[in-house]
């Protein structure tokens, strides 16, 4: 929903109820349809069944094992990829020579879906832990480098002129203008990189892993344990929401001077 749409709905108090009621009613309807046999419980297990399964795999520790290995792979890859991406992005925005060298390479590789690179990665790094970390790092890197470069390049030239006129040249210009000026874009970069990381780690675990949340979903499908499959999907959704929310809070804390328009969506 657009920000405007949401505000319009919010202004009309009677719709407040609907905002909450609509998803709840859908779930109740789903539950009823399954219970009376109108929906096939083998494909669409009732919400209560899914919640029950989720609870069971939380209690027996199965979920924690899978989630922690996935998070570990994601965290290392994400940190590595986005760190290199941000540093290179800053350099590309700052010095034309870096831009000239790296932009053609990045533009050439970026359009390839990162999951399509999985076979190449397995070929080079084997199918162990390293390959999963590498593919996450690659996905995070591209999101980070492109958005950071764009962030530096979008700094208003008149701001740069002002800084130069007040004595900021070269290194000082980088530290006092390019770095803070690119900060909002860097946070956008991190958010997109995190989303991309989640996407590729699940895909990588689908095809080449014996553990992890992606593996859990895949194996559940293969054994037709659909209620566990849905439980896995819920967990991924929660992971995505939590990480995105955390970054948003961090952003507001670190850059209070910038109002993020996307935030209100």
């Amino acid at each position: 929903m657009t920000a405007k749409g949401l505000e319009w709905v919010k202004r009309n108090a009677k719709y407040d109820v609907l905002l909450v009621l609509s998803p709840i009613m859908s779930l109740i309807l789903w539950e009823i349809l399954v219970r009376v046999g109108l929906m096939d419980h083998r494909f669409f297990p009732a919400p209560t069944t899914v919640i029950g399964t989720l609870f069971r795999i939380i209690v027996n520790g199965q979920l924690l094992d899978h989630v922690s290995i996935s998070l570990y792979r994601m965290a290392i890859g994400f940190l590595l990829g986005s760190f290199v991406g941000i540093v290179l992005g800053l350099l590309m925005g700052w010095l034309k020579i870096f831009y000239a060298i790296f932009d053609p390479l990045i533009s050439a590789v970026y359009p390839i879906p990162k999951t399509a690179l999985l076979p190449v990665i397995f070929l080079i790094f084997g199918i162990g832990e390293l390959s999963k970390i590498v593919i996450v790092a690659i996905a995070a890197f591209f999101m980070a480098v492109i958005n950071t470069t764009a962030g530096v390049l979008s700094i208003d030239p008149v701001i740069i002129d002002a800084a130069r006129n007040f004595g900021a040249r070269r290194g000082k210009l980088f530290r006092y203008v390019f770095m803070p000026g690119a900060l909002p874009s860097i946070f956008t970069a991190l958010r997109l990189a995190l989303g991309a990381s989640l996407l590729v780690i699940v895909a990588a675990e689908f095809v080449a892993s014996n553990e992890g949340i992606g593996y859990l979903i895949w194996i559940s499908w293969q054994t037709l344990a659909t209620e566990r499959m849905y439980a896995g999907l819920i967990v991924i959704a929660i992971l995505g929401i939590l990480s995105s929310y955390g970054l948003k809070k961090l952003r507001n804390y670190l850059i209070p001077w910038s109002v993020d328009v996307r935030e209100r969506m």
């Binding site: 008149v158 002002a162 007040f166 004595g167 900021a168 000082k172 803070p180 000026g181 109002v259």
Partner: protein
């Protein structure tokens, strides 16, 4: 040119300064041999049709863009420790990631002035432009007029030998602009720092300046200049005098030709 009663020492001398831009569409001659002297403690206004290169001239003086040819001489022997120029830009060129205080401090910080000292200086100038209540605010919380006050305070706090102003109030609404013009007059008349002020408003140039230099359409060169000897401290009521009206009309007659010339060139 009207001879002035006495000539103070020259602060800036431009001799045959020209600027040619190389663009993808070919070369553009922005300035063609500008000869201009700005005197110590003078408020000099430069006026001209849009696109005549008056901003380019200011950027050359500010060392933000190189000149193609000609000489630029600063007479700064007495004030060598002070920075040469500080500019107030037409657009809101204050740093969005810095509070009002840190924006005003910027030049001092770049020069390595200790934190306590630069805060004291900055607070002094923030008070002068009437923003004390907003010292800790970020620019996105300020109106356009307030942002330009910050830009003015930032330039003044750096204590430059020459203040450069590039249509600083051009983007503001008419009422805010009038208010800020009066404040600038009040602040400037306290210590009379040399100002090079670019504007496209005759009205503004007459109210503020000691002298007005009229530039031709592109390629910009000095067409003529006018001595403006309304008494100081100046009040807005000089606008109600006959002399103001006569001068306004005289300058407009000269400016009109250039505006028409630049419009013809745009069509071609």
């Amino acid at each position: 040119m009207t001879a002035s009663k006495y000539l103070p020492p020259a602060k800036i001398e431009l001799q045959g300064v020209s600027k040619i831009y190389e663009t993808a569409q070919g070369t553009i001659e922005a300035l063609a041999g500008i000869d201009l002297t700005v005197y110590e403690r003078e408020f000099l206004c430069i006026i001209g049709p849009s696109g005549c290169g008056k901003s380019t001239l200011l950027r050359i003086v500010a060392d933000l863009c190189p000149r193609t040819s000609g000489e630029l001489i600063f007479n700064s022997s007495a004030q060598q420790t002070k920075p040469l120029t500080a500019m107030v830009f037409q657009e809101y060129a204050i740093f969005p990631w810095r509070t009002v205080l840190d924006n005003v401090c910027f030049g001092l910080e770049m020069r390595g002035v200790p934190k306590k000292e630069r805060h004291e200086i900055a607070e002094h100038y923030i008070r002068k432009v009437g923003l004390t209540k907003f010292t800790r605010r970020f620019p996105h919380e300020l109106s356009g007029g307030m942002k330009q006050r910050v830009a003015l305070a930032r330039a003044l706090a750096n204590d430059p030998q020459i203040l450069l102003m590039d249509e600083p109030f051009g983007a503001l609404d008419a009422q805010t602009r009038t208010l800020l013009q009066q404040e600038l007059l009040r602040i400037w008349e306290e210590d009379r720092k040399t100002i090079l002020y670019v504007t496209h408003s005759i009205d503004e140039a007459l109210l503020l300046g000691d002298r007005i230099v009229l530039m031709t359409a592109r390629p910009g060169t000095v067409k003529t200049e006018y001595q403006v000897d309304f008494p100081r401290p100046r009040e807005i009521k000089i606008k109600a005098t006959e002399k103001f009206g006569v001068l306004y009309y005289e300058i407009w007659q000269a400016l009109k030709e250039e505006v028409q010339r630049s419009m013809v060139e745009e069509v071609l």
